[in-house]
Amino acid sequence: MGTENILIVLLSFMLAGALIAVETKNLLSSVISLGAIGVGTSVAFLFLMAPDLAIVQVSVEVVMIIFLIRATIARDVIPQRGHIGWGALAVVVILLGGLMAFGAYAFRSIGRFGEPIIASVLAAPSNRYLEKGLQETGAANIVAAVILDYRGYDTLGEATVLFVSILGAITILRVKGWARAGRQR
């Protein structure tokens, strides 16, 4: 069975999981379905020859599900159903359906699955990384060479994103935001 078929099966499974996550009335099952999708993504990364990503994805996944369950579900498992009004719902569905159809049409103009753009654009930076990465950076793991040398600045940005979001979360969870009381309305 080719990678493409495996991925189609995997993606169908993830899509089903997503539908369950979206439509179930139980928040706990919703979060667990999200976890299943995450694990599915991680497995897909393995099949797509991205072991770094598979490791990161699965560990981030575990942490995120722990957060979601401990932080929110533990508080309130009342079944939730509501959604926006039917008229708005119809508009959203039509819009997304249109987008879906156009997307399916548009994907024909990029290379077929399994034929990446770097195979046809020889000047693409990726080919340079694959060819000279070891020699220029000394790292045998080309992905590490890309994230920490060729595109190291991105990684600085990424570390900053993590820093800012943790700082933001701590800020939001302060006991008291306003020091001056009483003069507010």
Partner: protein, 164 residues
């Protein structure tokens, strides 16, 4: 939170060390094998999260206080920034891999690839610290509903005290 049963605690005590070491291994060999600072950092954080889940927060917080964690978080980020800025001193270029340019190590050795391993360690430190921090603040602290504008007893994690 009192922690879990004796069995879980015993298993955790043994496994924790291995998870931690595995994380460290992934960080320091990130430039040779799959993994790297992020993956390793998350795994290191997981070892502490496991400890917290099994033993309760007091035990874990004794080992690693939130203030230390926050310091490590900032420290890791600073180390990375300094490694990037150091390049300005060397040839005047932001983010240049100055070590590799000066001392190109032998490929496939642990000591190779210039600043990449250093950056990996900085990131591992940062990611591990910040994930553990966010885990503590998101799930260990206890929050109750606020009703009728009156807040009932709120227990916060230790850093809550620092906020005046």
């Amino acid at each position: 939170m009192k922690g879990m049963s004796v069995i879980v605690k015993t298993v955790t005590r043994w496994i924790k060390v291995f998870i931690f070491l595995y994380g460290v291994y992934i960080v320091i060999t990130g430039h040779l094998t799959p993994g790297g600072g992020f993956a390793g950092g998350v795994i290191i954080a997981c070892s502490y999260i496991l400890l917290t889940l099994a033993y309760g927060k007091e035990f874990a917080l004794q080992r690693l206080s939130p203030r230390t964690t926050a310091g490590l978080d900032s420290g890791g980020a600073l180390l990375f920034l300094v490694a990037a800025l150091y390049g300005i001193g060397y040839g005047g270029i932001f983010f240049v891999n100055f070590l590799q340019k000066r001392y190109p190590g032998r490929a496939f050795q642990l000591a190779s690839a210039g600043i990449i391993p250093i950056c990996n360690i900085a990131i591992g430190l940062k990611v591990g610290a910040s994930l553990f921090l966010v885990f503590i603040i998101l799930s260990v602290l206890r929050i109750t509903k606020e009703k009728d504008g009156k807040q009932s007893m709120v227990k916060r994690w230790p850093e809550g005290k620092e906020e005046e």
